[in-house]
């Protein structure tokens, strides 16, 4: 299994080098030997023509995505819990959620600019939209999946309404909410790149790769893409490892 897993990446890299040599045009396909130095000096601004180092831009993008993501979580989790608990509210809101959900976050860019002007608020809004729906829908699912017996046991043991919420409904739906957070963060991370293409942006990984394009630095574009991908994988891995540590009981309810 192991050798097979790394076979294709190796072939791709070899194929890339061969193709780069054949094409012989660094603007279309730069050789690996020009991409690696960019990645090997993540703190240097030498390759990025004054638009900040890779690390600096990554930190800025991460900061933005975190803000939008947390705002989405703060709104979506409580709303999802209330919707999961109240069939009435679900009936009331469901159609609206279903209408808004299929609209791609990027379609909100023009409205976002109109409402929030150029800057942080606009970007946070786009990321918010991207992360919001997966968190909301998973929270509703998680709360709905709470077994009635769990709640009844708690009330017969003397738990009040608030304790049922904090000691049964919340811990019981947390694994599913966590899945929503993981998926939501993944989408938010995709959105940040596009959000950083909005006019007036001067930093961030999304900005960096577009800026590099304007200077014909395809090697910096690819290096930026690699960093975006690696950060995405690392954060997903973080979510997954917390999931298997905290929610080991998931799927084992009896």
């Amino acid at each position: 299994m192991r050798p097979l897993r790394i076979l294709l990446p190796i072939l791709l890299v070899v194929g890339w080098e061969v193709a780069a040599a054949l094409i012989n045009n660094p603007f279309i396909l730069p050789s690996l030997t020009t991409v690696i130095p960019v990645l090997a000096h993540p703190f240097s601004t030498e390759y990025t023509l004054g638009s900040g180092s890779l690390v600096e831009n990554a930190a800025i993008s991460l900061g933005r995505v975190t803000i939008g993501f947390f705002m989405a979580a703060i709104v979506a989790i409580p709303l999802g819990i209330v919707m999961g608990r109240s069939p009435w509210l679900r009936d009331f809101l469901d159609s609206t959620v279903e209408l808004l959900r299929p609209i791609p976050p990027l379609a909100w860019v023009p409205l976002s600019l109109a409402w929030f002007k150029i800057g942080m608020a606009s970007m946070a809004f786009i990321i918010f939209i991207g992360a919001f729906f997966p968190i909301l829908l998973n929270t509703i699912d998680g709360v709905k999946s709470i077994k009635l017996t769990w709640i009844e046991v708690a009330t017969t043991l003397g738990a009040r309404e608030r304790q049922v919420l904090s000691k049964v409904i919340l811990p019981g739906s947390l694994p599913t909410i966590w899945t929503g957070l993981r998926v939501g963060f993944g989408i938010a991370w995709m959105c940040v790149v596009a959000a950083e293409w909005m006019p007036g942006t001067t930093r961030g990984l999304g900005y960096l790769i577009l800026y590099a394009y304007n200077f014909g630095q395809t090697n910096v574009i690819i290096a930026g893409m690699v960093v975006i991908g690696v950060i995405g994988i690392l954060i997903d891995f973080l979510f997954k490892s917390i999931e298997s540590r905290w929610f080991f009981w998931r799927g084992l309810e009896r």
Binding site: T149, E152, V153, T156, L157, G158, A159, Q163, V168, E253
Partner: protein, 252 residues
């Protein structure tokens, strides 16, 4: 601590359909320290009766009284044990048992101590830090019993607690339940569909009629415990109760 059920009736309303009567003018008195089982044809409202007594459902009419006070919501003087899915999978055994004490606001050290005592009572002391998914069905029900006992109720309400277990485990748990009952002197109201189980455990068996359920017969069992399932006396009572239920199912 006497439990008095008076003229209890319950009907379930479904939109566009005539309401279904589950219980009708049901009267029952359960005495202190008594072990009473409720039997009846399927769908006769046994579980509904128990849920109303527990305060989980409201009666359409009639009352449930505990020492003269009406029961309309769950109260910690009664604890309910469900058939399954009742343990919290994210809590280990000890914290499951301590749940009732935790919501009461007992400090952590105190509730752990009490929980450990009840864990000992159901002979699971070695499993304090295990999680429910690591336990067999029988062990999980013993934890559920310990958790109910930990809030020190006077009455245990048990809704087919051993119904999902295999026959051997079931017999073992029945024996353990009797031992616990004799040690703790609780009153037990026990719903089951197994005549054998009811005869083995109970002081009295309440046989309900087919829907809407009302008390059709009450059978007192004077056999000394531990009861021998193969004895002629046991068989005779079982035969008698079985006939009652069959008659009830036929609606006679």
């Amino acid at each position: 601590m006497t439990l008095i059920i008076r003229d209890l009736a319950k009907s379930f309303a479904t939109e566009g359909k005539p309401p279904v009567e589950a219980l009708a003018s049901l009267n029952l008195e359960v005495l202190d320290h008594e072990f009473v089982s409720v039997l009846g044809p399927s769908g006769c409202g046994k579980t509904t009766l128990l849920r109303i007594v527990a305060g989980l459902e409201t009666a359409t009419s009639g009352t449930v009284e505990l020492d003269g006070g009406a029961v309309t919501r769950p109260c910690p003087r009664m604890a309910m044990i469900f058939q399954e899915y009742s343990l919290y999978p994210w809590r280990n055994v000890l914290d499951n048992i301590a749940f009732g004490l935790e919501v009461k606001g007992e400090p952590a050290a105190e509730r752990r101590k009490v929980a450990a005592q009840y864990l000992d009572l159901v002979s699971l002391a070695d499993f304090a830090y295990h999680y429910p998914y690591e336990l067999s069905g029988g062990m999980r029900q013993r934890v559920a019993v310990a958790r109910a006992l930990a809030i020190e109720p006077q009455i245990l309400l048990m809704d087919e607690p051993f119904g999902a277990l295999d026959a051997q485990t079931r017999n073992m748990l029945q024996k353990e339940l009797l031992a616990i009952w004799e040690k703790t002197r609780k009153t037990i109201l026990f719903v089951t569909h197994s005549v054998d189980e009811a005869v083995y455990l109970s002081d009295r068996i309440v046989v309900l009629s087919a829907r809407p359920g009302r008390v059709r017969d009450v059978v007192s069992i004077d056999l000394p415990r531990p009861r021998d399932r193969t004895s002629p006396g046991f068989a005779a009572i079982r035969r008698y109760v079985l006939d009652l239920i069959e008659d009830a199912a036929k609606g006679q």
